[in-house]
Amino acid sequence: MLEYSLRFLAGGIAVSGFAALGDTLRPKSFAGLFGAAPSIALATLLITLSQKGAPFVALEGRSMIVGAFALALYSWTVCVLLKKFLLSSWAATMAALIVWFAVALGASTLFQLS
């Protein structure tokens, strides 16, 4: 229970901290970099490292590469849905989740990461 409380606190602080930093930066395209900041990774890897050890975290890092490519495609899809199809931000970001799941889970199965 303590571990999950720590994770919640660390994740909340890291995510809202990076998001607030992004709010203060201009131009918007630069601020957007912080939309893909390693906030959850930084918050969670330290705790995982202390509990499960470095080899476990190394495997998470390897999978994260695949997840990050999926995030790049997700963000690009959101951009297209907003600019070309004029969807609302909420609709675009939720619809594009299909892309993230398809790429992340598809690629990890394809390359048999495990």
Binding site: G32, F34, P38, G61
Partner: protein, 138 residues
């Protein structure tokens, strides 16, 4: 185009919007831990790059820009969407920084855990900013 730091922009965000981001970030971090414990590090690692608060952030950007434009009697709907699209374009480049982050963690953490985290965070920043700069040149 020079990058500007504008702290006054923080006043545009309501307290409950900060709370939403905090709770979403916390919940997603807990969920990542649960997924890694249940399905192992291979699946758990994927979710370290999950767009957890992206929907909330993009919606906030669209709303803030739309409200600002409408206050000035300008059509805000399209400008709000364009601002959110620009943010998403930036996130594409930030994602390549995340690739570098994961690569460093994978290759360095077993040898040197403390320096791996610092090096990984620095790699994210350098790759993301370089990507942004290169995109401007093209």
């Amino acid at each position: 185009m020079i990058v500007k730091f504008k702290p006054s922009a923080l006043r545009q965000t309501h307290w409950y919007e900060y709370l939403v981001r905090f709770v979403l970030g916390g919940v997603m971090t807990v969920a990542t831990g649960v997924i890694a414990a249940r399905f192992g590090p291979v699946i758990g690692g994927l979710f370290l790059a999950f767009p957890a608060i992206f929907p909330a952030s993009a919606t906030l950007i669209e709303k803030h820009v739309r409200e600002r434009k409408e206050k000035a009697d300008l059509p805000g709907a399209r400008r709000g969407k364009e601002a959110a699209a620009l943010d998403a374009a930036g996130a594409v480049l930030g994602s390549f920084g995340l690739v570098a982050f994961g690569l460093v963690i994978w290759l360095v953490i077993v040898q040197s855990p403390a320096s791996a985290l610092i090096l990984a965070a620095s790699s994210w920043f350098v790759v993301a900013v370089l990507g942004w700069q290169v995109r401007r040149w093209l």
